[in-house]
């Protein structure tokens, strides 16, 4: 029996961050209650239907932690019957106003991985990103989680944010390293249409593209020196701490997403739930989003990974090696230092990751 990834979307936030375009709304206690109930029901319905297990569970958002430890535990418990025994169970948290008990309760329900939004250890930078807590709060939350026995912790860091310099970034990375977290996600700020940042971009004092590229390379190098190795364009982990759930996305593996705006890829089909809470309560069927899993898509996703696109895996899935044409084009980029190419396959270098869109448009 195959194992899929299970994703549960919690579409609530205390407040909207000015750069974020994910689906989230504000919710009072009764809405949270209603949603948790609906979600549990839906997990059972969808998973009974599929007749398979999930070996990863990821509760993301929004801000799952706004539901509180009790409800999160209930939700995890409702999914437990469908989980493999060694499942990776991640909950995303906003470190604001979390207690030591919060983590203890989660740990008790089986949660074994926490992903937290640090974004920056510099409080001025954090404020410009709309973060309500200071870095000390983040530090305490990490310690609380660790004390509760959850050591597999990931911190999100943002690059290319307003006023960020090489120095402030170095401080942020030091902050992460000194806390001993085994995983970092580092994203270059992208201005999404419809966000506050998008509207205000000219007054934000954002580092330019060249500076952002330098910050990215600085991050890769600093983390690498500290044993936190890059395994994806934006993700870094100590050996064995790579996100098993997220790797499913980049390996073109199957996953089921439940909740408004959650996406799924099952049996070659992509589909998603509408960004509409009431539709979800009403039991709306997911919206088809075309087929997935062809070679181009697989290659596009695999090339996000440091491991790259491998002949052996390609052969296993598609019955052929990486096409010669693609190898030939990659050789051109390898020559310029954007890619590497050997008997195992092809992959992007860091310099290549920075230009992955352009390069993929050429070689795929």
């Amino acid at each position: 029996m195959k194992n899929i990834g299970l994703y549960l979307h919690i579409p609530f936030c205390r407040s909207k961050c000015p750069y974020c375009d994910f689906y989230s709304v504000k919710a009072d206690a009764s809405v949270r209650e209603q949603y948790a109930t609906a979600l549990k029901k839906r997990i059972k319905a969808e998973m009974d239907d599929l007749d398979c297990k999930a070996d990863t569970l990821y509760i993301g958002g929004g801000t799952p932690s706004v539901l509180g430890a009790e409800k999160l535990s209930e939700i995890v418990n409702s999914a437990t019957p469908y989980l493999a025994s060694d499942a990776e169970i991640t909950v995303e948290c906003n470190p604001y106003a979390l207690s030591a008990d919060f983590f203890k309760t989660l740990a008790f329900s089986g949660v074994n991985r926490i992903s937290m939004g640090l974004q920056s250890a510099n409080d001025a930078e954090r404020r410009s990103l709309g973060r309500l807590s200071d870095s000390e709060t983040v530090k305490n939350a990490v310690l609380d989680a660790q004390n509760a026995g959850i050591t597999n912790i990931s911190l999100d860091v943002m690059l290319g944010i307003p006023r960020q310099t090489e120095k402030t970034l170095a401080n942020t990375l030091d902050f992460c390293v000194s806390l001993g977290v085994p995983h970092i996600s580092a994203y270059i700020l992208k201005l999404e249409e419809g966000t506050v940042f998008y509207r205000k971009q000219n007054s934000l004092a954002l580092p330019d593209d060249d500076a952002a590229a330098d910050l990215y390379l600085q991050t890769c190098e600093t983390l690498e020196r500290n044993g936190i190795t890059q395994y994806e364009i934006s993700n870094f982990g100590k050996h064995g701490f790579e996100s098993r759930h997220n790797i499913k996305y980049w390996n073109c593996d199957e996953y089921l997403g439940i909740g408004p705006a959650a996406h799924s890829f099952i049996n070659g089909k992509r589909f998603y739930f509408e960004r509409d809470l009431n539709a979800f309560y009403g039991g709306a069927k997911p919206v088809p989003d075309g087929s997935g899993g062809d070679f181009t898509e697989y290659a596009m996703l695999r090339l996000r990974l440091a491991e790259g696109l491998l002949h052996s895996e390609t052969e296993k899935r598609f019955g052929h090696k990486i096409p010669d044409e693609m190898i030939k084009k990659s050789a051109f980029f390898a020559d310029k230092g954007f890619m590497e190419l050997d008997g195992n396959g092809i992959r992007l270098t860091r310099k290549g990751f920075l230009l992955s869109n352009s390069i993929l448009a050429e070689i795929l």
């Binding site: 990834g5 994703y7 996600s185 994203y187 270059i188 992208k190 593209d209 060249d210 952002a212 590229a213 990215y216 364009i233 934006s234 997220n246 996305y249 980049w250 996953y255 997403g257 705006a261 959650a262 996406h263 799924s264 890829f265 992509r270 998603y272 989003d289 075309g290 997935g292 181009t296 898509e297 596009m300 996703l301 996000r304 310029k336 954007f338 990751f353 920075l354 230009l355 992955s356 869109n357 352009s358 390069i359 993929l360 448009a361 795929l364």
Partner: protein
């Protein structure tokens, strides 16, 4: 000699914006009220016909019935003239079809460059001028000053000139009276063999070419075999008639003195060119009317479809436009950089812009055009002479004895305070000062000889901006003169981009080369590799810039919900690449191309 005493044929001439169209509209309105009351039935019939055919007949010429103060009804033929120097020849043919011209002068502006240029054209054709002072409703209007300018500069008595406002309609009927009174009636030459002057022709997809004529001698009717005297082509006349403001009025016969149309299933306007004389095969005239010449393009450029797949569509569109525009020429051309396209010839830059706009708007084509060029005469050391309008055919400099370029004589009219600025501009454009005349205390005529290639792209804009819009400008072709020319090549990443090459005077080569290099640097988006931009004369690089390498593109996270979006983005990125021109290893978006072609002066 007998006259056709109730016919008047006239044009309206004016400087741009002095109110020609508005006055024409008023005249139509004033006379159409009469027409409507008297000819209700006919008007309705013909409107049906027009509705059926789904076209609006353009008023290139229009017949108006006017009941004058003397109690007689006159047939007034108003013949429209294009208002731009590019179409000077057409203007001259329209004037040749008339006995008189209404000269409009703006009461606030007075005499301007095109006022004079058009006046001279009209006087060349012995037209009686009917001065009209327009825009008396404007606060800044000074009709008496404008009238005095006309008297002083043109030498035309304005004591009786109607002071009108075409906008409000004030005094407009006086213009009609003045036409009846002052424009001579045409002669009655009905008994002579047919001679009719073609002053315009338009292509109509139902009737074929509609030929607009002024009958000078004889008569023409349906069934006659018409013969074009310049080309010898013969056609059987299907229909003759008059142009009314909103419809075409079929008639049995067009006689001397009259203005009307002929249809004869003619396929392209090239078969009935403006300026040609129509006679009949049965009773041909011995001599054509004077003045016919084939208009030749003066400005050339390559026109390429942005998407190579549109090549056939572009050819179709050019063919269709040519049906209606005998001055447009084109022939296939290939560019290493731009692929398949056409070398097109135009009367001038305005003509070029009009054609380009029509191709883009009416035919939905995305175009890339190359730098416009004039025709250079390159004299080779072997004694031969090559006419070059395309930089790609520019001979090896070693084989060139000397080169010649076309010049124009230009008149620039402006208030005296701008003389310095205009002289600087003309100097900068390699102009040779010929003279300066004070037309009156606040208007100067600066007379320059200028190389044509210095005025074909942006001279008029530069002139306007240096004189805050006060200067007016007119020119006519002059002779060829010896010139020191070089060909500039643009190299991207070491590859010559043939479509960006152009011919320029050697003194201007360095400045232009630097500007081009800068423009390209600013307009070529950074790519994965550094791109050297070089501008060279032969193998000698005279300007260099570098487009820095792009270091990062948008790095978005990619989780479960992002994959479809990411895939679409990738497709879009690939699609976007198609809109780029691939030059060797360098991709140049069309916008960068256009920016280089539209180098402005500032």
């Amino acid at each position: 000699m007998q006259k056709k005493e109730f016919i008047r044929n006239f044009s309206i001439i004016a400087h741009i914006d002095h109110g020609k169209s508005t006055l024409a509209d008023r005249l139509l309105e004033l006379t159409e009220t009469v027409a409507k009351r008297d000819m209700q039935e006919q008007l309705l019939d013909n409107m049906d016909l027009e509705r059926e055919r789904g076209i609006t007949i353009k008023a290139h010429a229009v017949k108006l019935d006017y009941k004058a103060a003397d109690g007689n009804t006159y047939e007034l033929n108003l013949i429209d003239t294009p208002g731009h120097v590019d179409f000077n020849y057409e203007v001259s043919r329209s004037l040749a079809a008339c006995e008189g011209a209404v000269l409009i002068v703006d009461a606030s502006q007075g005499v301007e460059a095109q006022t004079l240029a058009n006046t001279y054209l009209a006087l060349d054709h012995d037209l009686e001028l009917v001065p009209v002072i327009n825009k008396i409703d404007l606060p800044a209007a000074d009709p008496e000053r404008a009238a005095k300018e006309v008297e002083d500069i043109i030498g035309l008595d304005c004591s009786e000139a109607p002071r009108v406002s075409a906008k409000t309609g004030e005094n407009v009927e006086k213009v009609l009276e003045s036409i009846v009174k002052n424009v001579p009636a045409p002669e009655n030459n009905d008994q002579k063999p047919l001679r009719a002057l073609v002053f315009d022709s338009v292509y109509d997809s139902y009737k074929g070419v509609i030929v607009y004529v002024r009958v000078v001698d004889g008569q023409i009717r349906a069934g006659d075999t018409m013969r074009m005297m310049a080309t010898g082509a013969e056609f059987t006349v299907v229909e003759v008639g008059y142009m009314r403001p909103t419809f075409m009025e079929k008639t049995d016969v067009l006689s001397s003195g009259e203005v009307g149309y002929i249809t004869a299933s003619i396929k392209t306007v090239g078969d009935a060119r403006v300026g040609d004389t129509v006679t009949t095969a049965e009773n041909p005239a011995s001599e054509a009317l004077p003045g016919y010449r084939k208009v030749n393009p003066m400005v050339f450029c390559g026109v390429y479809p942005a998407d190579g797949a549109d090549y056939e569509a572009l050819r179709d569109a050019l063919e269709k436009l040519q049906l209606n525009d005998a001055a447009l020429s084109f022939e296939p051309e290939t560019s290493g950089a731009l692929g398949f396209g056409f070398r097109c010839g135009f009367l001038g830059l305005l003509h070029l812009e009009i054609i380009q706009e029509r191709l883009e708007r009416e035919y939905n084509l995305d175009l890339v055009t190359t730098v416009p060029s004039v025709i250079y005469k390159i004299h080779l050391t072997n004694g031969e002479m090559a006419e070059i309008d395309n930089p790609s055919r520019y001979p090896d400099p070693a084989a060139i004895d000397y080169a010649e370029e076309p010049t124009v004589e230009a008149h620039i009219y402006a208030p005296p305070e701008y003389v310095g600025a205009i002289m600087d501009l003309c100097q900068d454009r390699r102009g040779v000062y010929i003279g300066m005349t004070y037309l009156d205390s606040d208007r100067v005529d600066l007379h320059y000889k200028l190389p044509l290639n210095e005025i074909i792209y942006d001279f008029f804009d530069a002139l306007k901006s240096r004189t805050r819009g006060y200067a007016s400008f007119d020119y006519e072709l002059s002779d060829y003169q010896r010139s020191s020319l070089v060909k500039l090549d643009v190299l991207l990443n070491g590859d010559t981009i043939d479509a960006l090459s152009f011919i320029i005077h050697s003194e201007k080569a360095y400045a232009r080369a630097r500007k081009i290099a800068e423009k390209l640097k600013d307009n070529i988006p950074r790519q994965m590799f550094e791109i050297p931009v070089q501008v060279a004369i032969g193998s000698k690089v005279i300007a260099r810039e570098t487009v820095k390498a792009m270091r990062k593109d948008v790095l978005a996270k990619c989780y479960g919900g992002d994959i479809t979006r990411k895939k679409k983005l990738l497709e879009k990125q690939k699609e976007g690449k198609k809109r780029m021109r691939q030059f060797g290893t360098v991709e140049v978006p069309q916008e960068a191309f256009m920016a280089v072609l539209k180098l402005d002066d500032e």
